[in-house]
Symmetry: C2
Subunit: 462 residues, 2 copies
């Protein structure tokens, strides 16, 4: 873009949003290398910080009129490079569009603007006896609009679903400046195409989420946590089915294979939880009422021990004790750092294929990259497997690992991203999970909603 055009755009944006909502970085070069995973975070040529949902729509209209590419930014905690500016892009930040607008304290629904950080939202409703079940490590920084745009998951999906399941209504600004209001407030609404679904999980490629109506749960009074030692994946699957049948309050079921457990103990200096080592460990948590739920968990796990489905079990006696049990699972943060540069997978595998898949990938990676570490763990309750493999000095090795894993995912009829999204990093691999007619239809929808193609271009579909 020529300097003159940029001036005209700048002027129009300042006129629309006000001077203090537009900042220009004159040092930003147009061209930039394309390796997103390792590149230093790119700076946009201009950053827009509108103050209201309506101003987001106005800014988009101006950008579309000038055919100016724009990247939408929430809390910048994504793992797929979707919010990283590409060469020549303007950034549109939702950081100031962050008000809590209304709260139905009787039914438990909350209306908020997209830029509200997740943790602020959680705290706000908890003070009123309600609970927003979405939770993830980036809670302090990630924004609720970004959670919606990427259909965030986390540890409690097995009970409460993903972000998609927690959204009743949305308002979206389209690139032509239309405000598409779909601010439904009821759980059941069957009045034609559920348009909001188009924007959940499509990573800002079809419109910018500006407002949300969220479904809350009553605040549970207690969490109960247990760590189970299990003899095989098969037994873990049996344990999952039994606990789901007996404990409606089951909210987490985190599986860790032995190799992950050892690596976690090493790096975080944790003691072995049991006298013996076991092939598989499962971290179980329920959320609900203190006494009845605890009793039900204890009785269920006792029976699983008697039936031989579980080999050993520790039930946390205090909140501090529960944290110690979660520490094995949460050592993943330190493992990610240690194994850099790594390949970190966030894949979904049908349960009946899971064990074979893990075996196939473990064998294949160990044979080809015997010097590297390959770890397996995940939110088994919802078929979400994480694989962490590294370190890889050569980018070509990393690419080979990705190709190997994704090809095996396709064979297993799984998906290449369960909760992190596609962004820029996984866009080249999308065809491993989505059929050609699907990708074709996604492109048609993109053209329908963003005819000038200014919005998050190059994300998801290339």
């Amino acid at each position: 873009m020529h300097a003159q055009d940029m001036d005209a755009l700048h002027l129009a944006l300042v006129e629309t949003l006000g001077e203090d909502c537009v900042s220009v970085d004159t040092s930003v070069a147009d061209a930039h290398a394309g390796d997103w995973s390792d590149a230093p975070r790119m700076r946009p040529r201009m950053t827009l910080l509108p103050r209201t949902p309506e101003d987001v729509a106005r800014a988009l209209r101006v950008l579309a009129q000038h055919r100016q590419a724009v990247v939408v930014q929430g809390g910048l905690t994504g793992l797929a490079g979707g919010a990283t500016p590409q060469a020549g892009e303007v950034a549109l930040s939702l950081a100031r569009v962050n008000a809590i607008e209304s709260f139905d304290r009787i039914g438990g629904t909350l209306t908020v603007q997209a830029g509200l950080p997740l943790e602020q939202l959680q705290t706000f409703v908890e003070e009123e006896g309600w609970f927003f079940p979405l939770d993830l490590g980036a809670r302090g920084t990630c924004q609720i609009g970004g959670n919606a745009a990427t259909n965030a998951g986390g540890n409690r999906v097995i009970r409460f679903g993903t972000m998609r399941d927690l959204i009743l209504g949305l308002e979206v600004a389209l690139p032509d400046g239309t405000v598409l209001s779909m601010m439904n407030r009821v759980t059941k609404n069957t009045t034609g195409v559920d348009l909001k679904q188009l924007f959940i999980g499509s990573e800002g490629t079809l419109g910018v989420i500006t407002r949300l109506v969220l479904k809350l749960e009553p605040m549970p009074s207690a969490a109960n946590t247990a760590l189970c030692a299990v003899a095989s994946f098969d037994d873990a699957a049996r344990l999952l089915k039994s606990l789901r049948a007996r404990l409606a309050s089951l909210s987490s079921f985190e599986l860790m294979w032995q190799d992950f457990m050892s690596a976690a103990m090493d790096i975080a200096h944790l003691k072995a939880p049991f006298g013996d080592a076991y092939p598989v460990y499962v971290l179980v948590e329920t959320l609900g009422e203190a006494d009845d739920d605890r009793l039900a968990l204890e009785r269920s796990l006792e029976q699983m021990l008697e039936e031989g489905i579980v080999q050993d079990v520790i039930i946390a006696q205090t909140i501090e004790h529960a944290k110690q049990l979660w520490a094995y699972r949460e050592a993943v943060g330190e493992l990610l750092s240690k194994l850099k540069p790594h390949a970190a997978f966030d894949i979904g595998i049908p349960m009946e294929r899971m064990e074979r898949f893990v075996e196939a990938v473990r064998t294949s990676l160990a044979a080809r990259f015997p010097q590297q570490t390959h770890l397996f763990f995940g939110h088994l309750g919802d078929g979400n497997l994480h694989v962490l493999s590294g370190p890889y000095a050569a980018a070509s090795d990393l690419l080979e690992v990705e190709e190997r894993v994704y090809a095996t995912v396709k064979e297993a009829q799984g998906c290449i991203s369960a909760e992190h999204g596609i962004g820029v990093i996984k866009a080249p691999f999308l065809h491993y999970s989505r059929s050609e007619p699907e990708i074709e239809l996604m492109r048609k929808l993109k053209t329908l909603l963003d005819p000038t193609g200014i919005l998050n271009a190059g994300r998801v579909t290339k």
Copy 2:
């Protein structure tokens, strides 16, 4: 259409599907009156009964080439006239596309064809220790594909969600003959636009659902049922919040106002459940484990009695006793018959507006139509209110009732259909629930996916 064109179409369909899959009704007249609610069921000029999902797609391509309007038919149990043939339409029935294709017994996912009746599906998985939680009165006849196309609800939405929440994957035949395969098998899949959502609840206007991957629950071992007498709607809302916090196994929360309760007792010759009459009654059910769950329900309701949130309570001691408690709620079938011709509403109202809404509608209808009966009840757990009002001899009175109720729904920011859908009957009222930009986008999606406009024309959006 001229006889000659019809012959060419008939020939092409016979060639595509085989003679035994195409039946022609030569007695059907082209023109027909447009009053769907009272009209005798119209007969289509031709009925197609393909045997495979692939043949559905082939039939659609032929129909589009001939620009022949087609109505998609499942079990014909819908309440919004969506599957009733309009003048000149060909019917495409899914009745023979009804195979159970595969079953992941470890993870609990089932792959079926769209024409499978709901009850057959339920029975099949229950024999294997799994449970498909969707349930509705028409279970014996309705088909799973129709349940998806209308996003069916029922009594257990509060815990398990609507049909949308139970669908992992879909295959859809588009009017151009494309088979759009979106047969995802995992709970979490964040790989771009979740295209299947377009087809769930859009009542067959965008494509024909041919295959589904469904999410199952482990079979609960027991249901526990209670009937609660409550002093006010406010207390019922408080009861709902407390029970949701304490009982994750809560699967039904059915509210009946006093006037409904009296009418139900009258028509079904049922005894009053309590010594006194109360303003509001709530039928509560949990699904889960027998002993622990029952104990938790008893303890929770005891505490609600102590706190004065509940005035009186009956907990069912046997399955027979539970049926007796449900009989009040299920008298609705007989009430529907008695009050014919009636206006039967299936609306969603935000909880904080519910009490005011019921009062406003009750007062307005009683003042204008003092001779008629007006009853209020619903799946309160999910904001779904049913209003039954009748009998009305004059069609203009019926229309007036509809206009009054829907205008009040709009004021309350509710929706005009929570679970029955829009079909033909409610299409004129769609604007009470959806904004102009939404309806405009629905029309654009219709043109994108069905450019010749042959599929379920006139349904949902006019």
